[in-house]
Amino acid sequence: MSNEELSGLIEAVGLRRDRAAFTTLFRYIAPRFKAFAMSKGCAHAEAEELVQEAMIAIWRRASTFDRSKSAASTWMFTIVRNKRIDRLRRERYPTAEFDEAVQQPADLPDPGQSMDAARAGESVRDALRTLPAEQLLVLEKAFFEDKSHSAIADELGIPLGTVKSRIRLALTRLRGESMEAFA
């Protein structure tokens, strides 16, 4: 399902409490949430509980989703990431939204304006298929097993600098021009 379609479903839930749209969204994303939970080592039963918590959070927060700010897949990733940290580590995840109330006067415009979020989400998915295996492996350790740079270096028995360069190469390739910071 494309990010356009996913955005439409989340908006239907947010605006109209649309249960049919929510069920369609569930059938698509919940099995991926479950795969995400199990990639960190959750057993089936615990993974399904985590899926429940994440889907309920999506129902409750759907009205805060803004397709101009983030792709639907990005928004849902942050929800399931936070639920997994909450459940497995008993910690909260401090989610910062860029806060204009404390913005410095000389700062740049809204960070969301510079890219078309949904289209960027699709191009990342396509680019992932072309990534060298060694770069993909490092990203999987980071996102699926929530391992830090140093934990990945320890596990793979490679220098920290190699982990850093693989991650930067991967991100530069995935985000193209928009990921200048990692170039």
Partner: protein, 219 residues
Amino acid sequence: MIRHHPALDLLFDHATGSLPEAVSLAVATHVATCPSCCRIVAETEAVGGAMMQNLPPIDIADETLKAVLARIDEPDLASAAPSEHTAEAIERSIVPPVLRPYLGATFDDLPWRPVANLFEEAKLPSFSDTHRVSILRARRGGFVPMHGHGGQECLAVLNGGFRCTDDVFESGDFTACDSSTQHEPIVDTHDECVCLLVLDASLRFAGTYERDLDPIFQM
């Protein structure tokens, strides 16, 4: 103008969720005021979203969908109205929303403790096991005497600023250092400095302050 940012590694590890909560809090406090770092975190999360979407789906029990549909109309207890305690901090506008729930009191009612008449520290309660998380504040002339670090230190400036040899850190800036760093930050470029400090090991003070301050900054 923000000049000092977290390393890209730290922003990336924050976005994947691999940092301990205390360190993530310091990074998030900076990200809340920094559009360019906010964008880097958002772009990294977009990679996470795409990778999650590409995962081979694993079948879900029908009962799970039924259970969710039965639960979505329950009242949402977790998102109760924000505590009134934070009203004053919001008024002061120096504590970004991500940090507010961790204070548990108004800014002025935090458990402020003077340290050797040089600065004040208020330790935040939630992190007693693994990290020492504090708000430090000092007026012009205040300083933290020369010290080394037993581990990693992260600092986000909330208001005012301080100087460390030739570097000046101001509201919104972030800095991290490890056991290889010795320094003596001083508030002499601004009238005051308020910052969030996250430590995963004790500070080690040198010289005459050793006896007075070492026991205070134990974990």
